[in-house]
Each structure stands twice: as structure tokens, then as C-alpha cells.
């Protein structure tokens, strides 16, 4: 199937299998993107879901260090960089508390990388 989307400001067309994950299409290093203004994990979406959407990756934004809490250490994850970017766009006057809040419920890096998949997937051990 053919899909089209705007990626970092550039229109792209791809021929994909319907079951392709967005992370497989964009590359494993692109773990998070902003999709139509919302921060999402690329391995949780199919590429087909991005059809006719607007995507922004970490590589298209500059790191807004003022919008990253002091406690968050480098190297920053894609999600942290994009989260700071979104916050800087949505609330340029964000206070330290608001910045802390905006980072409080991000997926932790170990979960985002898939090392704890049970946290996201339905649990099938039910009897």
C-alpha cells in the first residue's frame, strides 16, 4: 500500500506492507515523534496510521535545554527532546514546576526501549 505524510517539513511517499511499524519505516533510532502535535512512540504505531499526518522527529528540532528539568541528565532521549520542544511551543513561559510536571509522566527510557514490554501490552497470564 502507498502512504504519504509530511516528515520534518518534507512530503514523503512510501510503498509499505500494511503491517509495517512506524519505527521500522523511520528507523530504529527514531523512537519518538511528534504526530500532528502529539508526542508518540514509533514502535506503538503502524506506519499506515501516519498516512496524511505531519511528523516531526528529534533531528528537526533544536534541544530546548531551558525546558528540560535539571534532574534529567544527558544523553536525552528522543521523547525528552521532543517533549521539551512541544512545551517550548505551547507554553514559552513555562515555570520550573510546569516543566517538571510535563516530564513527570513520560515513559521511562527502559520501557520506551521495549525492555519492559509487559507494561504496555495486554497481560495474557490471566486464568
Amino acid at each position: 500500500m502507498k502512504i504519504q505524510f509530511e516528515y520534518n517539513g518534507v512530503s514523503q511517499e512510501h510503498e509499505i506492507h500494511p503491517g509495517t511499524l512506524l519505527s521500522e519505516l523511520l528507523g530504529a533510532d527514531v523512537s519518538a515523534v511528534v504526530l500532528d502535535g502529539r508526542l508518540v512512540q514509533t514502535k506503538m504505531l503502524l506506519a499506515a496510521q501516519a498516512h496524511q499526518r505531519q511528523l516531526i522527529s528529534q533531528s528537526a528540532v533544536s534541544v530546548q535545554r531551558d525546558f528540560i528539568p535539571a534532574g534529567v541528565k544527558e544523553p536525552y532521549t528522543s521523547a525528552q527532546i521532543l517533549n521539551a520542544y512541544l512545551l517550548s511551543q505551547q507554553n514559552p513561559q513555562a515555570s520550573a514546576v510546569q516543566i517538571e510536571d510535563a516530564f513527570a509522566d513520560l515513559l521511562s527510557p527502559d520501557v520506551a526501549s521495549g525492555s519492559r514490554p509487559e507494561a504496555l501490552q495486554g497481560f495474557s497470564g490471566c486464568t
Binding site: 500494511p18 508518540v40 506503538m44 504496555l120
Partner: protein, 280 residues
Amino acid sequence: MHRQLEEFFYPETLAEAVQKKHDYGEAAAPIAGGTEIVPNLPEGIRCLIDVTRLGLDYVQEDDEFLRIGATSTMHQLAMSPAVARLANGMLSTSCCHGWPKEVRNTATLGGNLVGAGPFADTPPALLALDAEVIVRRVDGDESMDLQDFFVDYRRTAVGQGILTEVRIPKPNLRTRGTFLKFVRSQVDQALVNVAVVVELEDGVCRKVRIALGAIGRTPHRVLEAERALIDKPLVADSIENVASVVTELVDPVIDLRASADYRRELAGLLTRRALQQIAS
């Protein structure tokens, strides 16, 4: 890569979506956020139907009901003032407590219900709020009580239809509610969750709803515990009695995260806390 998928369909209308679901039968499923279905694509699914472009991401209220479109995201619901006004914001809590931002941004209410995961958070809240669901079928809309929607573990009554709306009767001003969830960490699924709604008249419980999740094969109300509180004052003795009834009645699932006894204790404990919160 889900190689079993043969088609990803973008319907332009709900009628097209329903027809496609009808044509494929069990081999097709709607997809919105995808957080349920992408990591857990059921065997036999060959077609996914994108329902995110059909205008089903709304929260509307009238005098009688709060109507929530099935593709409304958890973030949307957590931020909605109308949802927050409902029974002390219990549904808002169930939409944000323990949902990481990236999941909350994509997961939808419809997906949380149709996925029918026993550990999901919104079903107990909606059961306690007497919600009903609207399912669009080829021959028209069908509405059903949410408690009839959950058939078994990860099975619902949606059949060949598509869930389009959740309708919640607006509680009166005497109604209080709360949602509590017990988890080990921020992103874990509930070990037990409980939603309680009580309508109080001069301190006496006139209507009671107690719904539990992560305890059985489906989220469900505990009718006997509800009856134990009807026409009783919401005081320490009656609360203790109801908590005991819940502990006795529940038949918990067992998995590697918690034993049946632990879940049973948690169910009683959370029910007691929920009722105490409402009483205070």
C-alpha cells in the same frame, strides 16, 4: 512487522467502515490509537480499519448525557472540563492515573473498552457511572449497557459492529464518585482497580455502584456489595461491612503479579478507601 495484515483501510464514512467490518467479519478490526491492537494483534486479523478520521473524537454534553466519541484519546478526556465535572472527576482520574504521556496521547476510550483487557482502568469507572455504549451495525445503531458489553476475557459484544460512542447519564448533585487503582509503578497495569459511585440523601445511600477491575476475567459490578449499602448511612460500620462483602465475594484472577488472596485483600481495602473518601 505484522505480516498477517493484508489491508489497512481508510473509510471516508462510518457506513463504509461498518460495511468493511461486516465484509471481513472476525478478520477485520477497527484501529484508532493502536496501543491495544498494535502490540497484541489478534491471530486471524487481516484487515485494520482506521476510524480516526470519522469525527468520533468528541466530548459533548446535554441536559441528560455526557457523550464521548469512541476515538477520543485518554489525554483529551483527562483534560476535558465536562469529564472532570462528572462525579468528582472519577473518569478523568481513570484516564490519566498511570498512563504515560506517549500512551495517553494515542490510546482511545473505544480501544480501552473494545480491547476488554481485565486490567483496563476506564471500564470500572464507566460501569460505576452506568454508562452505555453505542455500536453502529450495518442495520443501524444498537445501544447496550456497558455491563452487557464485556462478555469474557478480551471479548465484547461488539461483534461485526463498530463502537462509536459512550453515553453517560449525568449524575445529580448528590452523587459522589471516586476511582482508585493499586499499581507497583507508574506504568504498570492495575493489580486491582475500583470505582465507586454513591448518591447520598441526608447522609443515606440511595444509589450505590461498586465496580472492580483486574480482579476477574472482565471488569464487573459487585451487586451484592452495592445492595449491602442501599438505604444505609455512609458511616464506618456500613463501610466496613461492604468492604468485607467485597473481600468475600470476589474470585480473583491469579497471575505472576499477585496471588488471589492478595488481590482479594486489595479489593476490600480499595473499596473501603473509596467509600471513606466519598464519606469525607
